[in-house]
């Protein structure tokens, strides 16, 4: 690859990193680099300074916290999540999505937080975080702030991060009930961006849904929070009728465009299909209903 000329720094502390970011108008944080480097290769991106955060300690952990929240550090790779033996019991939606992110090579280097910060409407992780009502923690010159994901992404490839802020972790709050959920993705081939992706996150008390979130990938100019669809199942026991209403509401919330991955109508149809399939996985078994 033959990118434009750029300066490269690899600080060993967050303080240094933030100072470096502030020192240049056109600087970028390098974590896994799986979106940034290809863009630099094609010279679509030509940052003057790359601040590589891979030498900064303490950012590569993920896990459940004593307060019940779940935290994912900025250097946690997709593969770390995919291979985790404990993630599934805490975060089934994330565990379901992890093996579907890009391809094995990208998963080895790319990061969860970096993917959310890239704010690609076709990024899978943002939909999961939306469904889980999660947040991003940003570290800047004046300290830290926690930004709900709905406020974090402002448009395609745009976030509220200041030029001298670094996203240091993603946070998912404690669940009130037992967590259920999943992720389905239609892709033309492994490694392709989603034609349609659907993240569902449920909290259940017995067979009743107490909280729900549905995030949609690749069917709008940004990740879509299908709130009405989620509201349609809260309080229900996921009966066929409620699922059908939610599926239609999610399709209505999507605003896909026709392109080489398929027509807008087709993508809306797949949104409804996937929401239906994901919710049906958590319907009470027939024996219980009877």
């Amino acid at each position: 690859m033959f990118p434009s000329r750029f300066r490269y720094e690899a600080p060993s502390s967050l303080g240094e990193a933030v100072a470096l970011l502030a020192s240049h108008d056109d600087s970028k944080v390098l974590a896994g680099g799986q979106s940034l480097i290809p863009m630099m290769k094609l010279r679509f991106a030509s940052p003057a300074l790359l601040v590589d955060i891979n030498n900064i300690p303490g950012l590569d952990q993920h896990g459940a916290q004593p307060d019940g929240s779940y935290r994912i550090g900025a250097l946690v790779r997709h593969a770390d999540l995919e291979k985790s033996t404990t993630l599934g019991e805490h975060q089934p939606t994330i565990a379901a999505a992890a093996p579907l992110i890009a391809d094995p090579i990208v998963r080895t280097r790319g990061t969860f937080v970096g993917s959310v910060c890239h704010a690609d409407p076709q990024g899978d992780w943002a939909s999961c975080l939306v469904a889980l009502d999660g947040s991003i923690v940003a570290h800047g010159p004046t300290g830290r702030r926690t930004i709900p994901v709905d406020d974090f992404v402002t448009g395609p490839f745009q976030t509220v991060l200041a030029p001298d802020e670094i996203a240091v972790e993603a946070v998912i709050g404690a669940a009130s009930g037992s967590r259920k959920g999943g992720y389905l993705k239609l892709e033309r081939r492994v490694g392709d961006f989603a034609t349609v992706g659907v993240a569902v996150a449920l909290e259940m008390s017995g067979s009743t849904v107490t909280k729900a979130g549905i995030g949609l990938t690749g069917v709008g100019s940004a990740t879509i929070n299908a709130r009405e669809a989620a509201d349609a199942i809260v309080g229900s026991s996921l009966g066929d009728d409620e699922i059908a209403v939610a599926a239609e509401a999610a399709a209505a919330a999507s605003s896909p465009r026709s392109d080489h991955r398929g027509s807008a109508d087709y993508k809306r149809h797949v949104v409804a299909t996937f929401v239906g399939r994901l919710l049906a996985q958590h319907q009470p078994a027939e024996a219980e209903v009877a």
């Binding site: 033959f2 990118p3 434009s4 000329r5 094609l42 010279r43 391809d103 239609l186 033309r188 081939r189 492994v190 490694g191 392709d192 961006f193 034609t195 465009r257 026709s258 392109d259 080489h260 991955r261 398929g262 027509s263 807008a264 087709y266 993508k267 149809h269 797949v270 299909t273």
Partner: protein, 793 residues
């Protein structure tokens, strides 16, 4: 005692590929590995627009960058009469655009600098002003009455048509249709694809002014043809040109043509008196170099009610892009399209073909096929599938009624080729048995009741491989023979060179096996070299599955010449007359006294130390082989699929392949070729295509948009074999490299059509992306053609 042929790595040995030793160690030597002292680097500036007039080019910004050594534009090329070059299809192609750009990605300028970063910076600093013109992205736009003229550079070119061509018996076909009980019609499109070898194209040109010799390391499947072309175009004497094709990272037809980048790097080396390296990036390769397919078909089959086919009509409209630079060696405008229906006994056939210019990349190549055979066999098997359905006849039974029978050979095909051997019905039976065809209809019915859509697709075909005999082929007037040169050293070891050029096929392994079979010299004792025009005998290169049919035959023939001389030496050593000498693998012996013998190695030593009076010393020779006919392998591919009715996603449940490629030199390599070909067949059917939007932007300029299947999607393959030796090939072998790519796609598409049959859908054009399958399934309508992609804002 004759040697054990398998033990010495002869015919039939699944010998490990000797070339893999260096490849798996990262020790391959590709063009980009070539580093010469003082070498400069070249980058190409490409057009962002599909059709536009160039109003100005300002290169001053590039010259201002330190390290930039040369900037070339079309104007500078024109001053040296090099702005245009001839193509293999007797058209002209722009090296650097002078007047207009005619496709997105066309070469507009190039920058030569101390390193590739600086060269790329230089390209970015060039300012080109364009006046956009309306782009044409399919043949029907091109043929419209008010279409803008793409090739206004050509005298007497008043529209966008390149050719009208026909072959076959029009009157006889008309009569057949008049007598038919049923006529089946189907229109379809074989979309444009790209061979996309992992290694892109590139060259290192090194013109030495002190010796006047030009050496070019080049990604070429046919180095000798390149040498001839450079001699003719650049007017450099042929003996002062050395083309070296080192290791190639795949070719698949993409590395047959002469590309503008090669020409520019050569001129840049002459002008700078320094070696100049050009390595194309992936996008450059995908958007500007030789593509495959892009043909529309109108097909008709005339039948009797009992299933007997009486006649076939085909009309093709082919999209050749901005320049007619099809890299094809046949004498026919649309290649071997008329090899269609060669495996069927059909009395009459007629084909008409129209070719047009569009604002898309030029350079149709035979992507893992003999030219246009992939389209021919796909159209054939889709037409057969639709015809059987229209007739209400079982797919296997319909084929059985019409396949050529074993005792019919030699047999003229409907369009006049001569097939010579095969056991077609046996292959079909093995395939049907393996897939469980007898029970499938019940299984399909039962599954449908549970809402599951299953389908089976059959594809049977024979195809002409091994360009080829000079009756049907030449390149620039040169006959399509090939060559081999064998030198046996005094210790019985040997070096073999051929005019072919391996690019993954494993020639270094398999050629040695042919020599081992003919001479009994262990394959491990034979070094195989190809690709250097100063050392290899003249040959036409490797493509169209021609290596084994042509160069491989030359290897056998040169080995036999060596054996003939060795026999004389053996007679001398054994002190008997030559007529009393018998041969068994690896040794000569005296008839009636089998223990009195000499090994081939002893003959080799004697060739350098003890030849009979009057014989020249040494044990080396060469052979040029002009094949008497093409080879005709047969294949039966059967795919079983399941379609998800809710999403249109289809999964391949099983694939059965029955290949008859005659005698197998190295069964492991043959199986690898079949699996590779089936993978590409699946790719074509499912995802791998180049398309364009209304503005002529290529959608597929990188591997995010140009989809190659991964190990995850690729189904498993169950391989079976039948061996019908080729009657005219010295060792009975037929081509195999492309059979599965050619015959495979129709099996997958036919299977999906079978799963959807109850909806009345007759055709979905490739690729069968989920949205297209779902649209067909829900509307009951065919999904045809590849209209420009409309992207909503």
């Amino acid at each position: 005692m004759a040697l054990d042929e398998i033990k010495i790595g002869g015919l039939g040995a699944s010998r490990r590929r000797v070339e893999d030793n260096r490849f798996i160690r990262g020790k391959g030597n590709y063009v980009d590995d070539i580093v010469l002292p003082g070498m400069l680097h070249m980058e190409i500036l490409r057009s962002p627009l599909a059709h536009a007039r160039i109003t100005s080019i300002d290169v001053s910004g590039a010259w201002a960058i330190p390290g930039v050594r040369l900037v070339l534009t079309g104007e500078m090329m024109a001053a040296r009469n090099l702005a245009w070059m001839p193509t293999l299809s007797y058209d002209t192609q722009a090296v650097l655009a002078t007047d207009k750009v005619r496709f997105q990605g066309q070469e507009v300028a190039c920058v030569v600098a101390d390193d590739p970063y600086t060269a790329k910076d230089g390209c970015e600093a060039i300012v080109v002003e364009y006046e956009p013109l309306p782009p044409i992205v399919n043949p029907y736009q091109a043929m419209a009455a008010d279409a803008p003229l793409i090739r206004d550079d050509k005298v007497n070119q008043t529209d966008n048509k390149i050719f009208d061509w026909e072959v076959g018996d029009k009157e006889g076909t008309d009569r057949a249709f008049a007598q038919a009980d049923v006529v089946s019609e189907i229109d379809m499109h074989y979309p444009r694809s790209h061979p996309s070898p992992i290694e892109t194209c590139g060259s290192v040109a090194d013109f030495d002014r002190s010796t006047s010799k030009l050496t070019v390391y080049m990604t070429s499947q046919a180095p000798h043809i390149i040498r001839a072309a450079v001699a003719l175009v650049a007017e450099i004497p042929e003996h002062m040109i050395r083309i070296i094709a080192p290791d190639l990272g795949g070719g698949f037809g993409n590395k047959v043509p002469v590309y503008p980048g090669y020409v520019m790097s050569i001129l840049a080396s002459i002008l700078t008196e320094r070696p100049v390296k050009w390595i194309e990036d992936k996008s450059g390769n995908l958007i500007s170099t030789g593509f495959g397919r892009d043909v529309y078909l109108k097909g008709q089959i005339a039948m009797r009610n009992d299933g007997k086919i009486l006649g076939v009509r085909m009309h093709t409209d082919s999209d050749h892009g901005a320049f007619f630079s099809d890299a094809q060696p046949s004498k026919f405008k649309i290649g071997l399209m008329h090899s269609a229906f060669a495996c069927y006994d059909i009395p009459a056939a007629h084909l008409t073909a129209t070719g047009v210019y569009t604002n898309k990349a030029p350079g149709g190549v035979a992507y893992r096929c003999s030219f246009r055979v992939t389209e021919a066999m796909y159209f054939q098997e889709r037409m057969i599938c639709a015809a059987a359905d229209d007739l209400g006849m079982d797919q296997a039974e319909f084929r059985r009624v019409n396949l050529v029978r074993d005792d019919d050979f030699p047999k003229r095909t409907p369009f006049g080729f001569l097939t010579d051997s095969g056991q077609y019905e046996k292959c079909l039976d093995i395939g049907l048995e393996a897939i469980g065809y007898a029970d499938f209809k019940q299984e399909q019915q039962a599954a449908r009741k549970r809402g599951r859509l299953l389908g089976i697709g059959i594809s049977t075909m024979t195809e002409p491989l091994g360009a080829g005999n000079s009756r049907e082929y030449d390149i620039l007037g040169i006959k399509m023979f090939d060559s081999a040169e064998l030198r046996v050293h005094m210790t019985g070891k040997a070096i073999l060179r051929t005019g072919a050029k391996t690019q993954g096929q494993g020639h270094e392994t398999t050629w040695a096996q042919i020599v081992a079979h003919e001479l009994g010299i262990p394959a491990d004792d034979i070094l195989v070299e190809e690709g250097d025009t100063d050392t290899a005998p003249f040959g036409m290169g490797t493509y169209a599955s021609r290596s084994t049919p042509v160069a491989g035959a030359a290897v056998a023939m040169v080995s036999r010449k060596i054996r003939a001389k060795a026999r004389k030496i053996a007679a001398h050593l054994l002190e008997v007359s030559e007529e009393d000498i018998e041969w068994e693998l690896g040794r000569f012996y005296v008839r009636g006294a089998q223990d009195r013998g000499v090994s081939i190695q002893e003959c080799a030593m004697a060739a350098y130390s003890n030849v009979p009076d009057g014989m020249e010393p040494g044990l080396e020779n060469n052979a040029y082989y002009d094949p008497p006919n093409l080879t005709w392998p047969f294949a039966c591919y059967i795919a079983k699929v399941e379609v998800d009715p809710e999403t249109g996603v289809w999964d391949v449940l099983r694939v059965v392949a029955v290949d008859d490629c005659g005698v197998r030199i190295n069964p492991m390599i043959v199986e690898g070729q079949i699996m590779g070909g089936l993978t590409e067949a699946y790719a074509m059917a499912n995802m791998q295509f180049l398309t364009f939007d209304e503005d002529g932007n290529c959608i597929g300029s990188n591997y995010m948009d140009y989809l190659l299947p991964t190990a995850w999607e690729t189904p498993g393959f169950e391989l079976h074999e039948v061996v019908t030796p080729c009657p005219h090939h010295p060792i009975g072998a037929k081509g195999i490299g492309e059979c599965a790519t050619v015959g495979g796609p129709a099996a997958f598409v036919n299977a999906v059509m079978d799963a959807l049959k109850h909806t009345g859908v007759r055709n979905i054009d490739m690729p069968l992306l989920p949205d297209r399958v779902h649209d067909a399934l829900t509307t009951g309508n065919d999904i045809s053609g590849m209209p420009p992609v409309k992207t909503e804002a």
